[in-house]
Amino acid sequence: MSETAGTAPSPRALQPGHFVDTAPFDAGHSEPLGSGDERLYRASAFKLIWWKFKRHRLAMISAIVLAAMYAMLPFIETIAPYGLTKRNGDFLYAPPQGIHLFHEGSLQRPFVYPYAFKFNLETFRRDYVVDRTRPQPIRFLCRGDSYDFLGLIPADFHLVCPPENGTMFILGTDRLGRDLFSRILYGARISLTVGLVGIAVSFALGLFFGGLAGYVGGWVDNVIQRVIEILRSLPELPLWLALSAALPPNWSPLLVFFGITIILGLLDWPGLARAVRSKLLSLREEDFVRAAELMGASRKRIIARHLIPNFMSHLIASATLSIPSMILGETALSFLGLGLRPPITSWGVLLNEAQNLAAVNLHPWLLFPIAPVVIVVLAFNFMGDGLRDAADPYH
């Protein structure tokens, strides 16, 4: 204390107007960090990405919607009011039944009005007449069609069931009298996993070939680049058509499912491989890689600690953006009858029934599976946009 006081000039000795701080000089001292900045500087890359992503509101909502959808998949049997193949022979092509809350002006539990159908001898169609006198309350948390929960435990518990001795076709029925709403829920299982399996195939191929091209370089790079160019100049759909037509007709529907996803992945990897290659090439030149090299880090450590984490976020973002094209591809193929086949049910398989104008004109509710396709595709696009913006937290 006395030491510092002795070395510092006394304020009185200074000329007026020249201010000198009397506090002792501290070499380690600098601008104090705000608590927020401190948090920002110490955060890991992953945390930064998460914060940035959270700010993108549309992407956040989409992520929640998608997470909810995927979380639902194992419990479809419980959520859907009807079983996948449950036929209601008396209600072929029944139009959607509305869920009502008010009967003759008074509020009730949710209920439906039952259908009575009569056969129209002039048009040879079934005309469904709504019977507005008898409201039938919908049952919740109830016993209905039996199923195997997770494929193991026999159960018959449902979240929602049709009323006692009644029906509840929220989105109508198809030509065999199967409830479209339940079938759309079951279809989600296939349609949503196709994208994931397909992207896994494409991701593995893209990572391998892109990594090879970017890392080895030379003629390998050249060959892979040419192959990518050729594959990218091919119109995807006709090739998908040709490949799926080539799947043996005696394959089981499950094998066909894997065949189709692999086909979708096989033609999708060039885009990813390109991204991997260019990212690798540019990252190799970055200062932090040079620094790690100078500090004597091994090649393995540089790749694992510095390269992969840095381009993974980009890759995941671009993979997210290419999932919708897979889902659409599967939908298109199944729609044309070249993709998945019943009894496997996907949204494309459901839309297959809505292929001709006559069906669409008489039974427009068969077009409902379009809605989940559009929602999922939009959600993946928004989420992918958000991820891509957040992928580079340091810029």
């Binding site: 119109p235 006709p238 040709a242 004109n361 427009p364 559009v374």
Partner: protein, 338 residues
């Protein structure tokens, strides 16, 4: 320039060669072929005479030879049963399903496919450029938001589903069928003015449907490009020197933002062609799409192979054109050397 052109043509030829091999082997992947299936069927029905004809066709088209030999015969570099007669010689093979040469089966469909794709490319550019310019110069205005919304919708709604929905509503509201490419009354007529008019009317919906996704993507990209350019100093300088705003916009930033636009034709084309195949199936357009689907299903190998090759040539040539346009538009791109 000549060196560059020659190099591009050589790459194009190699690309097409690889594609042709890929296409042929994919088509040959499923066991058997159209004729062996047919022979089995005819034998089962006890029609030995027809089966003999089919066997004659097998020999005629060399289907009893190994696959690689069949491929070489098909592209025309190996002597087949009729000598050199393959794609290179302009002999497109025989459609077993229609029992006609492929030429006659595809006929008009080729031109209509070309026409639709050309119309779609023009449509995409004609619509996307003005909207993108407006969107970028009036950033965050109402019009910009509408364009952005339209862009997202165009991105998310798969065009064949859009075609399906349009088919439904147009039929319900206006009572007209939008399927087909001209009124059925003209189907066997020679090309007259009335038929052409009918064709043009029917082309509106398919062009719109196929082009929507491409338009949406282009608007988004062009808007982003233009916004980047609008902040650059040369544009500010041009405006500060007193150049009228429209002229300044069109002369500098617009031209700059057009580059990726034309380079994008290469990306756009494969998508458009894919889209047109699907939409043709839904709207029942007489393009190569429906023929391709049925040919693939019945293993009509020469027909399917030819159509796939045609589609590939369409894309590859389109990419070449876009590269040449780009080179012509942007003097900074050096041809030839690296």
């Amino acid at each position: 320039m000549i060196v560059y052109l020659a190099r591009r043509f050589v790459t194009m030829a190699v690309t097409l060669l690889v594609i042709s091999a890929l296409v042929f082997f994919i088509i040959k992947l499923p066991p058997g072929d159209f004729l062996t299936n047919q022979i089995a069927e005819l034998r089962a029905q006890g029609e030995a005479a027809s089966a003999a004809k089919a066997e004659f066709l097998i020999r005629q088209y060399g289907l009893d030879r190994p696959v690689w030999e069949q491929y070489l015969v098909w592209i025309g570099v190996w002597p087949g049963p009729q000598g050199f007669a393959g794609l290179l010689q302009g002999d497109w093979g025989w459609s077993f399903e229609y029992d006609k040469p492929v030429q006659l089966v595809v006929g008009d469909a080729l031109w209509l496919t070309l026409l639709i794709n050309l119309a779609t490319v023009l449509f995409v550019h004609a619509v996307a450029i003005p909207i993108a310019i407006y969107s970028a110069t009036h950033q965050y205005s109402l019009g910009d938001y509408v364009a952005t919304l339209f862009g997202y919708l165009g991105l998310a709604i798969p065009n064949f589903l859009l075609a399906l929905v349009l088919l439904f509503y147009v039929n319900r509201w206006f009572g007209v069928s939008i399927g087909g490419l001209f009124d059925p009354i003209y189907s066997n007529d020679p090309w007259t003015w009335a038929k052409v008019k009918s064709l043009l009317q029917h082309m509106i919906v398919p062009t719109l449907v196929i082009g929507l996704a491409g338009t949406a993507a282009m608007i988004r990209r062009m808007r982003a490009n233009l916004l980047d350019e609008l902040n650059k100093q040369y544009y500010v300088t041009a405006k500060a020197k007193g150049l009228p705003p429209t002229r300044a916009l069109l002369k500098y930033p617009f031209r700059m933002s057009l580059n990726p636009f034309i380079a994008d034709i290469g990306n756009l084309l494969p998508n458009l062609v894919s889209g047109s195949v699907l939409v043709s199936l839904v709207l029942n357009l007489p393009t190569v799409g429906p023929i391709l689907l049925s040919a693939l299903k019945s293993q009509d190998q020469f027909l399917a192979g030819f159509i796939l090759m045609f589609v590939a040539v369409l894309t590859v040539v389109g990419m070449l054109v876009s590269d040449l346009l780009l080179a012509w538009l942007d003097p900074r791109i050096r041809l030839g050397g690296r």
